[in-house]
Amino acid sequence: MDYDFAQAIWAIHEVEKNIWLGDMREAKRIADSAIEEVEAKKIKAPQATANRVREILKQKRKDAKGKTAFYKRQWVADQVLKTLRKAEINMTDNLYGVLLNYLSDLRDSITYLIKTMSQTTLPNEEKPERKIQVYQGDGYRYTIHHFPEKTEVRAILDKLPKLNIVMMKTELSNFGYALENLFEAKFSKAFMLYSEKMYVQVLSQEKQAKLLFYTPELADKEEKIRLKAREILNLFSP
């Protein structure tokens, strides 16, 4: 049977991307829809095969107890291979099953996380960190993460960014930034911005963008960073 590996890989990447952003609900939505799509096709064999292979591996690892480290791994690999050949297990099924299981595990973890985040009756020491606010921009979603020495703005763009570097340099100089250390590849860009009171590392990879702000402590720091982040992100999605 032909499996849609590209779709499964894409779904896992999208879910991980949204977890990185902090948008758990969107991550769950993508995982749900990808799993529903597979369930609609009534594909069950791959997951059963993946679980069976996992059991075989587990059993052989148990059997190898007492053997020295390197020889143990070699012995386990050899025994597993022999069992797979004997049982004529199709590793294509296993591989697709592993991807589906992984997607399903991710969905379970996110569901659990969303549930615990919404628990308001937990005692203070058991409360998870405060919910991350997802801001909506024009053509992108972004979140702000605070660290001791920096503030990180993570964004997912709706479309692949088309950056005109010459135009961008002009625009950014209007905002008071100097652009340095430009790196360009087909799906990724990176550069640094210097201004009088800020140093920003900017990076994009496919539809992801990350801005690292290093600023002195200011009273209205978050508001200023949001403003600057939007100025830069707007250039990514003209």
């Binding site: 791994r73 050899d78 294509t92 296993n94």
Partner: protein, 224 residues
């Protein structure tokens, strides 16, 4: 800025009928020939992009390897040793403070470098790269990466093969001497992962290049 130097092993390694001893021999042959290969391409590594690859595609997600990459790539080791208990460690193992580079950190750099190579040098879309290492840790039999190499950017670098995508990739990183036993384990993992399939396997070896302050990346095509 650190750099990556890419080499391609000139033949596809066929693993289907190899016994463990033959896999060992094959690994020794690969290990001894690595120093004699011609470099295919080299590229500067942008630390910010590498850091992002680390965040998205490395299992343990060590924070800010871009800050530490130069130290790792030139082989700086901890010069101090912390006080250790007088009693011996269990089962004659060394204390962590007596160990040099952590294998976990080098593995992390290896996975980040591999995804960096795919995205920033070979122009693969990040959404074509499936990082299945976490599933492997959960006990599943899977390679480190499942790559949907739609434009054959990686496949075209390898010797001719009739195998199909997805590409199943296993990453091994070395910060010291190349250990043929780890290559052997990598080949065995590929042998098991490719059993009864028509997929192409790829063993990626990231070896610290002490002379040039960077990493050598070896691409080895594997078939069943």
């Amino acid at each position: 800025m650190p750099a990556i130097y890419v080499f391609v092993y000139p033949t596809i390694v066929h693993v289907q009928h190899l016994s463990p001893a033959q896999v060992d021999q094959q690994a020794q042959a690969i290990s001894s020939s690595l120093g004699h290969l011609n470099m295919l391409l080299s590229s500067q590594v942008n630390p910010m992009q590498l850091e992002h690859c680390n965040t998205m595609f490395s299992e343990k997600k060590v924070d800010r390897i871009d800050d530490n990459f130069n130290s790792y790539s030139i082989g700086t080791r901890f010069s101090f040793r912390l006080n250790t208990p007088i009693i011996n460690p269990p089962r004659n193992l060394d204390y962590l403070t007596f160990k040099f580079f952590s294998g976990d950190v080098s593995g992390d750099i290896g996975e980040a470098l591999f995804s960096y190579l795919l995205i920033n040098i070979l122009s693969l879309q990040p959404s074509w790269i499936g990082h299945t290492r976490p599933a492997k840790n959960a006990g599943a039999l899977t390679p480190d990466f499942v790559v949907w190499d739609q434009l054959f950017s990686v496949v075209n670098l390898l010797p001719y093969t009739t195998r199909v995508i997805p590409l199943l990739a296993e990453v091994k990183a070395f910060t010291g001497q190349i250990d043929y036993k780890r290559i052997s384990l990598g080949l065995q993992q590929m042998q098991t992962g490719l059993a009864n399939t028509v997929f192409l396997g790829l063993l990626f070896l990231a070896v610290r290049n002490q002379l040039h302050q960077g990493y050598d990346g070896y691409l080895i095509g594997v078939e069943n």
